[in-house]
Symmetry: C2
Subunit: 477 residues, 2 copies
C-alpha cells in the first residue's frame, strides 16, 4: 500500500533539492494540480523540481523505500489527465521543467540530446540552428516537453512521414522505479542486445520510471516545402487523393489533414482573421503539406502539378497552393484552430481514435450517422490525420440543450457507442493522447484480457510497490 510522505522524508527531500527544487506552497503548486482541459484537479504533498538525473534518482530511491507515490510532470498538456495527481494528497509531484537544456545537437549524426524538461519549440530551434530538423510538431509545442512527448508517444501533424515519437527516439536516460539509472542515451541506429527497454518507457506515461533525457533523431531540413488546401466530396475521395499524391511525390507528403465543412465553418465563424480558403463550398477539405530536397524540383511546382492532375482526374473539386509563407501559415491556422473553435462552442465529448487507414472513410461516415441517429440533435465534428487513420471524433450537445446537463447524462453512452464502433473496425480507443485517467474505464471495458494481463505483469515486475504515477494507464484489477 502507498503511504503519504512522512515529515522526515519531506525534510530529507527539501534538503536534497534546496529551495528552488522543493516547495509545499499552495501558490507554487496550484498551476500544476489541474489538467490542461480543466477536467481534473488533485492534491500533492509537495512539488519537487530536480535539476539533475542524480536528484531524480535520490527522489525515486527514497520514495520507493517509503512507498510514496510520484507523479512526473512535463509541460502538463496531457489531454487525458495523465499528469494530474489524485485528490488524496499523498503523492509528490515531480516536475522535470528545470531540466530543460538541449545538451547537444550533432548535424553529422543527425541526433539531438535533450533533457526531459526541454520544450519542443526550443528543440525545433536548436535543430534548425544546426541546419537540421526535428520532425515532430503539435499544437502545444510551446509548452510540451521532451519527457512528456516520450512518455506519451506523442503524434502530431507529421506522423504520416516520420512516425510518432517512438520512431524518433534513438536513446533514453531514465530513472527506474527502484531509483537505478538506465543509461541508454547512446544514439545507435542498430542495437540488438535483448529487449529494447526504451520501447517500454515510450508511451508508459511515467508508470515505469521517469525519463530524464532522450537522444532524438533529426532529419535534413527540406530544400523547399509547399502547403495546399483541397476541396472534395468525401473522406474516400480524400484517401484516393492521398494515395495518388504518394505515388507521384513519394514520401514527400508530410501532412494530410482531413477537415469537414462544418469544422471549417466553426473556425471561420469563431476565429478572428480567418478567411475561406476556396471560392465555393465543399463537403470535405484536406490540408496537404509536401517537401522537396535541395536538389529536387521545387515542392510548390511539384505539388501544383500533382494536384492539377488530380483535379483533371476528378479526384478533387478545387485546390489552392499557398504562394507565400504567410498563405501557408494561414492555411495551417485553419486546421490548427479547430480545437479552439470547438471550445468557443462549449464543451463536447471528445474521442481520439484510430482505425486502419483504408477503413477511415467508412468509419467517419458510419459512426457519424450512428451517433447522430441515436443521440437526437447531437452534432459530430470529425477531423484529423487521415493518412494515419487517426480521427478526432468530437460530439457536441444538441443546439437547444444545456450542454453540461446533456453531457452529464449522455457522454458515457456516446463514448461507449463510438468506442464500440472503433472496436468493430479493429481500431484503438486512444490513437495519440494515451490513457491517463480519463480513458481507464474504457480501456478496462474494451481491452483484450491477454494484453491487459501482460501489461500488469510488466508493471508489477518493474514497479512492485506501484509508486510510479499510480492510477494512470493501467485499470485497477
Amino acid at each position: 500500500m502507498l503511504r503519504p510522505p512522512s515529515p522526515a522524508l519531506l525534510d530529507s527531500l527539501a534538503s536534497l533539492l534546496g529551495p528552488r527544487g522543493f516547495s509545499r506552497e499552495a501558490e507554487a503548486m496550484e498551476p500544476w494540480l489541474g489538467d490542461w482541459r480543466g477536467r481534473y484537479r488533485g492534491r500533492a504533498a509537495a512539488l519537487l523540481s530536480p535539476a539533475t538525473a542524480a536528484e531524480v534518482q535520490a527522489i525515486v530511491g527514497r520514495c520507493a523505500e517509503a512507498m510514496v507515490a510520484l507523479v512526473p510532470q512535463g509541460g502538463n498538456t496531457s489531454m487525458v489527465g495523465g499528469a494530474t495527481p489524485d485528490v488524496e494528497g499523498g503523492a509528490l509531484l515531480v516536475s522535470l521543467r528545470r531540466m530543460n537544456s538541449v545538451r547537444s545537437v550533432s548535424a553529422e549524426d543527425n541526433v539531438a540530446v535533450a533533457e526531459a524538461g526541454a520544450i519542443l519549440s526550443d528543440l525545433h530551434e536548436a535543430a534548425a540552428a544546426a541546419g537540421r530538423r526535428f520532425p515532430l510538431s503539435l499544437g502545444a509545442k510551446g509548452s510540451a516537453t521532451v519527457g512528456g512527448l516520450v512518455s506519451t508517444n506523442a503524434g502530431g501533424t507529421q506522423v504520416l512521414r516520420f512516425g510518432p515519437m517512438r520512431s524518433l527516439v534513438l536513446g533514453l536516460e531514465a530513472v527506474l522505479p527502484d531509483g537505478s539509472l538506465f543509461e541508454g542515451l547512446s544514439a545507435l541506429r542498430k542495437d540488438n542486445r535483448g529487449y529494447d527497454l526504451k520501447q517500454l518507457l515510450i508511451g508508459a506515461e511515467g508508470t515505469l520510471g521517469i525519463v530524464t533525457a532522450a537522444s532524438l533523431k533529426l532529419v535534413a531540413a527540406p530544400g523547399s516545402h509547399s502547403v495546399a488546401w483541397v476541396g472534395l466530396g468525401s473522406p474516400a475521395a480524400a484517401l484516393a487523393l492521398l494515395r495518388r499524391l504518394e505515388a507521384r511525390l513519394g514520401e514527400a507528403v508530410e501532412s494530410f489533414e482531413l477537415v469537414p465543412e462544418d469544422a471549417l465553418a466553426l473556425v471561420l465563424a469563431g476565429i478572428p482573421g480567418t478567411r475561406p480558403p476556396l471560392a465555393a463550398s465543399h463537403r470535405w477539405h484536406v490540408l496537404v503539406e509536401s517537401v522537396a530536397p535541395e536538389s529536387g524540383r521545387d515542392a510548390v511546382d511539384a505539388l501544383q502539378e500533382a494536384l492539377a492532375e488530380a483535379l483533371g482526374e476528378g479526384l478533387a473539386q478545387d485546390a489552392v497552393v499557398a504562394a507565400s509563407e504567410a498563405q501557408a501559415a494561414a492555411l495551417w491556422r485553419l486546421r490548427e484552430s479547430i480545437a479552439e473553435a470547438e471550445r468557443v462552442q462549449g464543451p463536447s465529448v471528445k474521442h481520439d481514435v484510430s482505425v486502419p487507414v483504408s477503413a477511415m472513410p467508412a468509419f467517419i461516415e458510419q459512426a457519424r450517422a450512428a451517433v447522430e441517429t441515436r443521440f437526437d440533435g447531437a452534432r459530430v465534428v470529425a477531423f484529423g490525420h487521415l493518412g494515419d487513420g487517426n480521427v478526432h471524433f468530437n460530439v457536441q450537445p444538441p443546439a437547444g440543450a444545456t450542454a453540461e446537463a446533456w453531457l452529464a447524462e449522455q457522454a458515457g453512452a456516446v463514448t461507449r457507442l463510438v468506442h464500440d464502433l472503433v472496436g468493430e473496425a479493429g481500431g484503438s480507443i486512444s490513437a495519440e493522447h494515451g490513457i491517463g485517467q480519463s480513458k481507464l474505464a474504457e480501456l478496462a471495458r474494451t481491452a483484450d484480457p491477454t494484453r491487459l494481463a501482460a501489461l500488469r505483469a510488466i508493471k508489477s515486475a518493474l514497479d512492485p510497490a506501484g509508486i510510479m504515477n499510480p492510477g494512470k494507464l493501467l485499470p485497477s484489477v
Copy 2:
C-alpha cells in the same frame, strides 16, 4: 526447473499435431539441430510443426504446465545460435515453417499480413504483385522467415532509409508463454493504449513467446533506382560523401555500404565471375543505392549528377553508376559475396558491432590498428552499413597459423578487445545479429547491470517457468 517431456505429453502433442506436425525421427530433425554457421549442435525430444496459431497455443499451454522447454525456429539462419537447442535433449523444437502464407496484401493500407513461417523473398514477391514493396532485405532472404526476422529485429541493407524490422512491424499475433494468444495484428498507424507489447516481442529471440503472424508496413514501389560504386580514401571520406548525397537527394539514399580494398580483393579472388568495378585501386569503396519516385527525376540521372559534384569537390576518387539492371546486380554481388569470400579463406572471429555513425570512421581505423598490433599477423576485414554505424568486424588468423588452433587460443581475447573498444565508443556488441547463445558471455561481461536486471524482471514476469527458448538472450544469473 525445466523437465524433459513425458511420454504422455509427447503422445498428446503427436495426436494434436498429426503426422505432418510431429516427428521424432532423427532424419527429419537433423537439419534443424545445428546452426547455419555450424558452431552449435543440439538435441531435441521432438520436432513440432504446428499449422495454426491455435496449435501453437495448445503446444505452449501444455508445455508451460509440464515445464518443458520450447525452442522456436524459422528459417534457422541465426548468426548467433539463437534457434539451436541445447545438448540435453529435453527441449521441443517448434518450427513455424508450415505457417508460411502471406495472408493478405493491401495496397490501399500499405500493409501485408504474413504468417511467421512466410519466407522473406515470398513476401517481397507478394508485395511487388500489388505494386508495393516490403523494404527490408538481406542475404538470407530465400530462407529467413517473417517470425525470425521479427524475433531478431533483423536489419539488412535498407536500414538507412527504412529502419530495421522494428520500424516495419505494425502489428503482431503471438502466443505468450502461458499459452494465451496476443491478438495484435490490427495494423494501426497510431495506438497509444499503454505499453506497446509488440515492441517487447520484437528482438526477443523467442524468449517471451512465439510470434505467429505479423502485419508489416509496405511502401510505394520506387519509380526508378540507381546503384553506384565509388572509390575513396578513407571511412571519413565515405561518411562525408553520405552526408553530401543526403543533402542533395533527401531520403532517396537507401543503401550506403562500406567495403575496404582487401575485402573487395577477397571477393575478386574467391568468387567466380566477379570483376573489378573501377579502373584503379582505392583503399576504400562504397556501394550506393538511391531511388526516385514516379514523378521525380530519374534516379540514375540524379545520382550521376550528385556523384559528379562530389568527385569535383574531392569527396571521392572515382565512381561508376550502373547503366543496366545487370550491372547493378553485379555491383551488389560484390558487396553480398564478402561473407562467402571470407568463408573460402577459412574461419575467422566475427563481430557485428555498432557505434554512433560519426564515430564509425575513427573506430574502424583505430580498432583495426589495435587488433593488428596486439595480435601479430591477424588481418582485420571490416565492412558494412556505414550509414547505420554498423560494421561487421572480422578478424582472420595470421597467414601462417593453423586457423583452428589460433582461434581456439586467441578468439576470446580478440573479441574482448574489440568489444571493449566498442564500449569505449558508446556502441553495441550486437548491432543486428542478436545475442542468441554465442554472445551471452560477452553480454554478461559488458552490459549495464541496471538494464540486465530490468530485462530479467521482464522475462520472469512473462515467462516465470522459463520455458521459452532457454539459454538464449539472457545470461544466467
